[in-house]
């Protein structure tokens, strides 16, 4: 039925913009060329090509249902777990096709970590939440090493101070913002190269939001970060590059500065000036 609803609306014409010529300075960490994502018969992402630069924050913006989450999940093959979901086109991580049959998804996901829109800590202790990844990947040989990793990760996620006395209490007992930071700590504990964040602040109050934004800024030095957000203000504050999606199409992508001050496409302009959305 969503299919029905969107059909008449797919008549937009997207003129040649930056979307067509995905380039970053130097090598792209992640590069998509002509990527399509389908849910059953419905196409949620249409011929998207873009590059994500290393050690930068890239934000995806766009109206609800435009396919931001879908595209984000395509980058670490999280869509594999949805039966009806199918991805075509070419998505490369460091030049390697991640949809190649030989690629080990498990290892891919260890390299491309993900933080979800809704905080989803495991119903285990805070320590176990963070320790889980290193354990299953065999990153540590001794308990000491593990302790070390857990502490550094929590520290970097800005959570250690608040929880160091209660590492054995359940992760689910934390507040929403703390949970979200716990999920970030969990993601960075396996030392991924890319971190994908799907609306990490949508459930959060202003103060928690500010803390997470600070963290993202800090992480940028070591990781490549992609963030989906509904809030243009947030995109403007944290990201260096911004991609604007509309109904499954990548309308425009470029420096955040440029996108927000001088968008090429009038859809983009309409969206960021609040004329819709």
């Amino acid at each position: 039925m969503t299919h029905l609803r969107n059909d008449p609306e797919q008549q937009h014409e997207y003129p040649e913009t930056t979307a067509g010529k995905p380039t970053v300075d130097g090598d792209a960490k992640v590069a998509a060329r002509g990527a399509n994502v389908f849910y059953g018969a419905k196409q949620a992402i249409k011929e998207v090509s873009l590059d994500i630069a290393p050690n930068e924050v890239t934000s995806f913006i766009g109206p609800s249902g435009c396919g931001k989450s879908t595209f984000l999940r395509a980058l670490n093959r999280m869509n594999d777990i949805i039966d009806i979901c199918r991805v075509t086109g070419d998505i490369r991580l460091d030049g390697e096709d991640i949809y190649d049959r030989k690629v080990d998804v498990v290892q891919l996901r260890a390299r491309v970590g993900m933080v979800f829109q809704k905080p989803n800590p495991f119903p285990k202790s805070i320590f176990e939440n963070v320790a889980y990844g290193p354990r299953i990947h065999g990153l540590v040989a001794h308990k000491d090493e593990l302790d070390e990793i857990v502490h550094t990760s929590l520290e970097r996620a800005g959570l250690l101070g608040e929880v160091k006395d209660r590492l054995e209490t359940p992760g689910t007992g934390l507040s929403g913002g703390q949970q979200q930071r716990l999920c970030i700590a969990r993601a960075i504990a396996v030392s991924p190269e890319v971190i994908l964040m799907d609306e990490p602040c949508s459930a959060l109050d202003p103060i928690a939001t500010a803390k997470i934004e600070e963290l993202i800024d800090e992480l940028r030095g070591n990781y490549t970060i992609v963030i989906v957000t509904h809030s243009m203000q947030q995109a403007a504050r944290v990201s260096q590059r911004t991609a604007f999606f509309h109904l499954g199409n990548l309308v425009e992508m470029g420096d955040t500065e440029t996108i927000f001050t001088n968008p090429e496409h009038k859809l983009t302009q309409g969206y960021i000036t609040g004329r819709f959305g």
Binding site: I81, N120, K124
Partner: protein
């Protein structure tokens, strides 16, 4: 409310007009709900009261106090103390002598027979068991309580002639005033006199019926016990649990988490649901054909019973487990996969622990059903008279519901109350099992 047809009524007025009815309907509806729950609970209570009312007397047994002299020449002439010898020795004469001593006046054959019949024909085995436990008793005069024969026990419990008040009789003051003609009674006038004489001597006493809890089946009601069947039930359920839980959970995990959704899995789903509807005796036929005839396993063995009940309970466990797996939020799976766990790691580390309470619920229901099942066991030889307590899942055994079924069909009057008592034990077993599982489930729920 009474607006004439011509006048215009606003929606507000119309709403008010119907409100009273709507609230009445609301009250009624709620009352139905309460009534439904009360009806269900009332049924449960009635059931329990009926059973307990019929059966609680079986937990008591009238016993006779005897002073038995164990002459070594009768029991163990060579003084070897060899258990073999002790177990085959003749204790009956010692018991008889003790009884005759209580009735010196009974000298003729007829009277002595009546005296002997006062106590259980199994009394000598009670003494044998004592001697086997403690061979030093040989040569001593020991004081024991042996069960009164079941007919007398029933008379004293008032189960035979409800019209007559036995209180006075039991106190030994009056002779019994039968409402039944002599041939209708379980015991004769003479036997009643003997019994009363015993009572007057203070030798008869109601005590806790320990035999009921420690013995296997017996054709003497006063010695028949539930322990053999309980052990059989335990072995059977152990086999069932050990097989049906892992198989059921694995199947559920595969079907829910791995299997593609296609025609084949549809067929499997219909199949599993349909198996839940197959009469249990048909599973018995299957067990007979497959386990006994094809694989040549022994008859009456808890192992085979367990296998058959496994097949019977699998659908329940699979259906419940699938529901439990469905209820685990996908966000947990995404979280695990997101840090690079493999699908199986994700399931074993996160999904299964969370689904465990629901899986346990299914297992509880399935095991409860297995615990109470009789029909399929008819086919594989577990409806049998088994006296010896089974020592392994391969020994012949019966199970509690079968024991109930068999006792209920026994002519001896005393088995009626034992049937109810066995039912109470089975219900106790069931409630214990449920409680244990509910606690286990709580643990899983509470851990995080």
């Amino acid at each position: 409310m009474t607006t004439n047809a011509g006048s215009v009524t606003t929606p507000k007025e119309k709403m008010r007009a119907t409100l009273k009815h709507r609230y009445a309907a609301e009250k009624r509806f709620q009352a139905y709900g309460i009534a439904a729950i009360l009806i269900a609970l009332a049924m449960l209570v009635t059931l329990f009261v009926t059973i307990i009312g019929n059966g609680f007397t079986a937990f008591q047994q009238y016993t006779v106090h005897l002073d038995v002299t164990l002459y070594p020449q009768d029991i163990d002439p060579d003084g070897t103390g060899d258990p073999e010898v002790l177990s085959k020795a003749n204790y009956q004469s010692a018991v008889n002598d003790a009884m005759y001593a209580l009735f010196p006046e009974a000298t003729d054959r007829q009277a002595r027979r009546a005296v002997r019949e006062l106590i259980s024909p199994g009394a000598n085995y009670v003494i044998r068991d004592m001697v086997m436990d403690d061979p030093s008793l040989v040569g001593q005069r020991i004081s024991v309580r042996v069960p009164l024969a079941s007919e007398y026990d029933q008379v004293l419990k008032g189960n035979v002639d409800p019209v007559v008040d036995f209180t006075a009789f039991k106190e030994g003051s009056t002779s019994v005033d039968w409402s039944l003609s002599p041939e209708e009674r379980l015991i004769s006038e003479k036997q009643a006199d003997y019994l009363q004489q015993l009572i007057r001597q203070g030798e008869v006493e109601a005590s806790f019926n320990r035999w009921f809890f420690t013995n296997g089946d017996s054709r003497q009601p006063e010695l028949a016990g539930i322990w053999g069947a309980a052990v059989g039930s335990m072995f059977t359920l152990m086999v069932t649990l050990a097989l049906s839980f892992p198989i059921g959970v694995s199947a559920a995990v595969y079907l829910e988490e791995f299997a593609p959704k296609n025609r084949l899995t549809d067929i499997i789903e219909v199949n599993i649901n349909n198996l839940a509807a197959v009469p249990s005796i048909v599973f018995g036929l299957l067990g007979l054909a497959v386990f006994l005839q094809f694989f040549g396993m022994p008859r009456s063995a808890p192992l085979v019973g367990g296998l058959v009940l496994t097949l019977m309970t699998l659908p329940t466990i699979i259906i419940a487990s699938r529901a439990a797996l469905k209820s685990v939020p996908p966000s947990i799976r995404e979280a695990a996969l997101g840090v690079g766990a493999s699908k199986l790691q994700c399931i074993f580390h996160h999904v299964l622990p969370l689904a465990m309470p629901g899986m346990l619920t299914g297992t509880i229901i399935g095991m409860a059903q297995a615990l109470g099942e009789t029909a399929p066991l008819l086919m594989i030889g577990m409806v049998a008279f088994v006296v010896d307590i089974p020592g392994s899942p391969l020994d012949p055994a019966t199970v509690m519901p079968v024991q109930i079924y068999l006792w209920s069909d026994s002519p001896e009057r005393a088995f009626t109350e034992r049937t109810s008592a066995a039912i109470m034990c089975l219900l106790g077993f069931l409630i214990l099992m449920n409680a244990a599982a509910v606690l286990l489930r709580k643990r899983f729920e509470r851990r995080w």
